[in-house]
């Protein structure tokens, strides 16, 4: 039987786009949470952490409902957007931790040496925190790639094709049914 690699490629593409889409807002928000104190700062952090404590099915259901309210047709791009929102808290959590681990004196020293906020971020904070940021991206990618609830709903509702976790489940399920039928016959 020929091997069908399409679920793997589709899942990789789907998770990569979702991670990229999540990383774009995650980076500045993580920096804000790590380095600035503003009204509602803790509220934003708490709201992001809330995603960890709610079952994925519930999160995805509300994200889909939100997409429906927003009038999005649930296709490839909407599926990726839902996955990005689902991945965002993980990225935020890990990136914030990484940036907080960079000694604040480094950034302060850079400022006294004439660097503005962008230069301080790009030349000091980012290079010193890159390992933690990369860890965040990898974990976020794996979440988008491997989460069963998310990939099943994305695959079934958006009709974007079979993603790897759901394809694996379907294959195992089919094999089990075939065996039962053979036993019955």
């Amino acid at each position: 039987m020929p091997l069908d690699w399409s679920p793997l490629w589709l899942s990789l593409r789907y998770a990569a786009f979702a991670t990229l889409l999540a990383a774009v807002p995650a980076l500045p928000i993580a920096w804000l949470l790590a380095r600035r104190r503003f009204p509602g700062c803790e509220l934003v952090a708490a709201a992001a952490n809330l995603f960890f404590y709610v079952p994925p099915a519930v999160v995805v259901y509300y994200l889909l409902a939100g997409a429906g309210v927003a009038g999005l047709r649930f296709q490839w791009d909407a599926a990726v957007a839902v996955s990005a929102v689902y991945t965002l808290p993980v990225l935020l959590y890990m990136m914030r931790g990484g940036m907080e681990a960079v000694d604040g004196q480094m950034a302060n020293a850079a400022r006294t040496l004439g660097a503005g906020e962008w230069r301080t971020f790009s030349r000091i904070t980012l290079p010193l925190a890159w390992k933690a940021l990369l860890d965040g991206v990898v974990v976020g990618f794996l979440r988008a790639f491997a989460d069963f609830t998310l990939t099943m709903i994305a695959a079934r509702r958006a009709g974007i094709g079979l993603l790897l976790p759901f394809a694996a489940f379907a294959a195992v399920d089919l094999a089990r049914r075939l065996r039962r039928r053979q036993v019955a016959v």
Binding site: D103, N108, A109, R111, T112, L113, G114, G116, P127, L128
Partner: protein, 347 residues
């Protein structure tokens, strides 16, 4: 010249500092770092004004608050804060980003030469020796030609050799740059070694200012004396004043002393008396009647200092005597402690 007047949580100070090193001396939590942070622009005080060479860096009344990058304050952090992902040369290049390439390299080469960093310029900070790191930190803070240098007690925890090197580098910076240097420190020796002026800080307030020698010799209050580590602090009552002989008689809990005349004081006033341990004379008591200002005392504890011996007597009297003097009479049980009248300081 910098003029600082600021009020922030736990800090309320006003002072001026001219060219040279001004030490902010105080215990942990006295507000030294809070003051430096406010001047550097890392924190925003609630009230006050900071003026550096006629430029307003911060003024709460008019809402002026320049960002750190525009204040032209060099900053040497506690652990040097050299950027670990850059070589020492790149660390020195960092503040010169806006200058033409040739000028940047001229200044960096000059700084590498002046601070003896040429051989380690291509190393990263963690690969450099500790003395090279401290020289690089000072060189980087000064290479952008700041108008003020802030130094946040980096000598804390340095070994003796490094501390000597640190003092040498800071003296060199003071002589080369000729700018005000604010040095936060908890080390009295560093104050004496480097600072021309000293601000004594306690609980966010300035308790006393002046040259270190003067501050240590004449603490302005009991609080100041305690912060300076003055060991012999006694409450006394003025029993007599004799302007003719220029003397006074001071009654302590268990003995009386003759001191200098105290202008502006009245008989019966309660005062605090302090004496440097090194100024007391401790000798063996042979049973004879004590002379004036000699007090019989029972030795409770002996501790070794690097160059002397500290004797702690009953009643809170502490004396420091040279080691050879103590060795001659170490088996002695009863002692006489002499308070020379000119060593008595009344607070």
């Amino acid at each position: 010249m910098i003029h600082v007047r600021l009020a922030a949580p736990g800090v309320d100070v006003e002072f001026r500092a001219a060219s040279g090193i001004t030490a902010l001396f105080g215990a942990a939590g006295a507000g030294k770092t809070a003051i430096l942070d406010a001047i550097a622009g890392f924190t925003k005080p609630q009230a006050g004004r900071i003026i550096l060479d006629d430029q307003i860096l911060f003024d709460a009344a008019s809402g002026v608050n320049l960002p750190s990058r525009r204040r032209r304050c060099g900053y040497v952090a506690r652990l040097w804060a050299l950027f670990p992902h850059m070589t020492l040369r790149d660390n020195l290049l960092f503040p010169l980003a806006g200058l033409p390439r040739l000028e940047r390299h001229r200044r960096v080469n000059e700084a590498l030469e002046r601070y003896a960093l040429r051989d380690c310029a291509t190393r990263r900070p963690q690969e450099a020796a500790p003395d090279e790191q401290l020289r690089a930190a000072v060189a980087r803070a000064l290479i952008g030609e700041p108008k003020l240098l802030l130094v946040d007690e980096p000598a804390a925890g340095l070994d003796l050799a490094l501390r000597g090197e640190w003092h040498r580098v800071l003296r060199q910076a003071r002589d080369d740059a000729k700018l005000p240097i604010l040095l936060a420190t908890r080390d009295l020796e560093t104050c004496f070694e480097l600072a021309g002026e000293m601000l004594l800080l306690g609980a966010g307030r300035i308790l006393q200012t002046g040259p270190p020698r003067l501050v240590l010799d004449r603490p302005a209050s009991v609080e100041a004396a305690r912060l300076l580590g003055v060991r012999n602090l006694f409450q006394a009552e003025i029993a007599a004043l004799d302007p003719g002989r220029n003397t006074s008689r001071l009654r302590l809990d268990q003995f009386e002393l003759t001191g200098p005349y105290l202008p502006g004081r009245l008989r019966g006033d309660r005062v605090w008396l302090c004496v440097e341990p090194g100024h007391l004379r401790a000798t063996a008591h042979d049973g004879s009647k004590p002379a004036a200002n000699q007090v019989p005392a029972c030795l409770e504890r002996v501790s070794q200092l690097p160059r002397a011996v500290r004797l702690e007597f009953a009643g809170g009297i502490v004396a420091e005597v040279p080691r050879h003097e103590f060795e001659r009479q170490k088996d002695n049980k009863d002692w006489l402690v002499e308070f020379p009248p000119d060593a008595l300081r009344v607070l």
